[in-house]
Amino acid sequence: MSVPVLEVQDLTVEYVSDERAVRGADRVSFTIHPGEIFGLAGESGCGKSTIANSIMRLLKDPARISNGKVLFDGTDVLGMDEAALRAWRWNNVAMVFQSAMNSLNPVTRIGEQFIDVIRTHRGGTRAAALHRAHELLKMVRIDPVRLRAYPHQLSGGQRQRIVIAMACALNPRLLILDEPTTALDVVVQQEILEQIRELQKELGFAILFITHDMSLMLELSDRIGIMYGGRIVELAPATTLRHGSRHPYTQALLGAFPPLHGPRVKLTGLAEGTKFTNIQDLEDTGEGHWVAPSDQPVLSQGELL
């Protein structure tokens, strides 16, 4: 097997207050290989964004990484000093945030913002940076003339594409996408995802994809980790997960999306107030499928409506 781009080992993040510490992420381990799309799925509060932010070293007080390692190409990310971080971010790992389309500076033209990113991290002339911006905009199928536009002159979908293009500007080896399409209509969402796939083919980066939408995740990802309460409860290749999920929470998530084809089947979802506590470490069940043992009953598959 190839050397992983990213290796997260036993990562534990705590949000500390005077009275108590809440674990946002609890002994989380996974690896991402070059060119792979790895998905982290789970509901709000499960710790998926906490993971993304700790990989990027963006956590702020009161969050604290209390244990674990993040290795990028074998280099310890958690041990980097400010200068090393600055050189590493965007050059090697870029991140597209939730509602990133609102993260563009409203009073600066798009082109300027590209130039800013490229020159800050790579240096070079304005002309060279602008040339690169042209290429990137073409890649995401936006007319390079729009480099002269201000963010408010573009639609939400266009802005999202620009943010993604900006993230790819320096050919990172890993792209972190945190709910990149949540605020968009389905049609635009599909086009953006296609864009991401194309860029990935062209530039060959690996992706850490974060979302709560299982059908989206299954369509895009190669491997998926399901998070609940700060822990990964199941980790498997997407195809395995779809037909052979073992953890009741994974099944609840999968069952939460009614199908668009076939007979109408009554789904149950997760009962109000269901909680999984004391989640055990993952156990290998073969073929890259890891499951946390659970004594909770497996959800019944629904009856016909």
């Binding site: 389905v186 049609v187 939408d213 059908s215 998530l253 109408r264 979802g269 109000e272």
Partner: protein, 316 residues
């Protein structure tokens, strides 16, 4: 599933909308442009029927629900609810109408007053809409159990409840008005995914057990197929296609419906996206939406499936 709907057709439809139009005025400094939000809407809902309105943001689906809730005044057209015209309702008649037609909103975090306990919220609704009820306590317990919660929640504040629980309380409050029609505007889009199905199942149960007519407004085609008997697809303020849910989504005829159906994430699909086909669809939508020659074409009589198509293009 449709049996209830058919049983009740004899008494006349719950909602009958005839050529309803509504436009908004955009007020730029020197220009006042009329932007049509709804154009010539015809829609009928039988008693006990669940109809889903689907479309992208800006298609006019919420505006239609808001017209029905008397939150917007249509420019023209007629809306009959339970046989009565709702234009020009005043005073007590409006109040009566509002207990008849209730709305469930998207955001259960904003729609419940955070300073009151759940019991107060429900008690107010009961006092307003069903003042004749003496034993409010037991009625409230009945309401919360109808929506699948334990009576313990009555003494909680909204912030102590999860999103799913809050939306259930919002639905309990709606039920306190004894409505015959519920307008549910994206009721699950702010909820965690694992509890969404529970809320949809609850709405389904309300229809089955109380015969409530439901207008379900959503952009999520899969949930519309799951919940509703019939789907109406809105595009730029027009209903462009309508019919029995499963039949419509299995045989989408309008290019806009085809576009929507093709965009739903589907792990079974191998190649999700065909750019030239997408461009062709968009072009066709554009042609059809500006066409002067739009006609309703029946696609399948038994499932009431029709499409608003351009006369000259329908056959190719």
């Amino acid at each position: 599933m449709t049996s209830i709907a058919t049983q009740r057709t004899a008494v006349g439809p719950a909602v009958r909308i005839r050529s309803l139009s509504k436009s908004f005025t955009s007020s730029a400094l020197f220009s006042r442009k009329k932007i049509p939000a709804l154009r010539d809407i015809d829609l009928e809902m039988q008693r006990g029927e669940i109809v889903a309105l689907v479309g992208e943001s800006g298609s006019g689906k919420s505006t239609l629900a808001r017209c029905l809730a008397l939150l917007e005044t249509p420019d023209s057209g007629e809306v009959l609810v339970n046989g009565k015209d709702i234009a020009g309702l005043k005073g007590a008649a409006v109040r009566k109408y509002r207990s008849e037609v209730q709305m469930v909103f998207q955001d259960p975090f904003g729609s419940l007053n955070p300073t009151f306990r759940v019991e107060h919220i429900l008690e107010r609704a009961l006092a307003l809409h069903q003042p004749e009820i003496k034993s409010k306590r037991s009625e409230m317990a009945k309401l919360v159990s109808t929506v699948g919660l334990s009576p313990d929640v009555l003494s909680s504040f909204p912030h102590e409840l999860s999103g799913g629980q809050r939306q259930r309380i919002a639905i309990a409050r709606v039920l306190a008005a004894k409505p015959s029609i519920i307008l549910a505007d994206e009721p699950t889009s702010m909820l965690d995914v694992s509890v969404r199905i529970g809320v949809l199942n609850l709405l389904h149960k309300l229809r089955d057990e109380h015969g409530i007519t439901i207008l379900y407004v959503t952009h999520d085609l899969a949930s519309a197929r799951y919940l509703s008997d019939r789907i109406a697809v809105l595009n730029e303020g027009r209903i462009v296609e309508s019919g029995e849910s499963v039949h419509l989504l299995d045989n989408p005829s309008h290019p806009y419906t085809q576009l929507l159906v093709g965009a739903v994430p589907d792990p079974d699909r191998d190649s999700s996206f065909d750019a030239p086909k997408r461009a062709a669809l968009r072009e066709q939508i554009q042609r059809w939406s500006t066409s002067a020659n739009l006609q309703k074409h029946i696609i399948d009589e038994s499932s009431q499936h029709w499409v608003l198509a351009d006369e000259s293009e329908k056959n190719n």
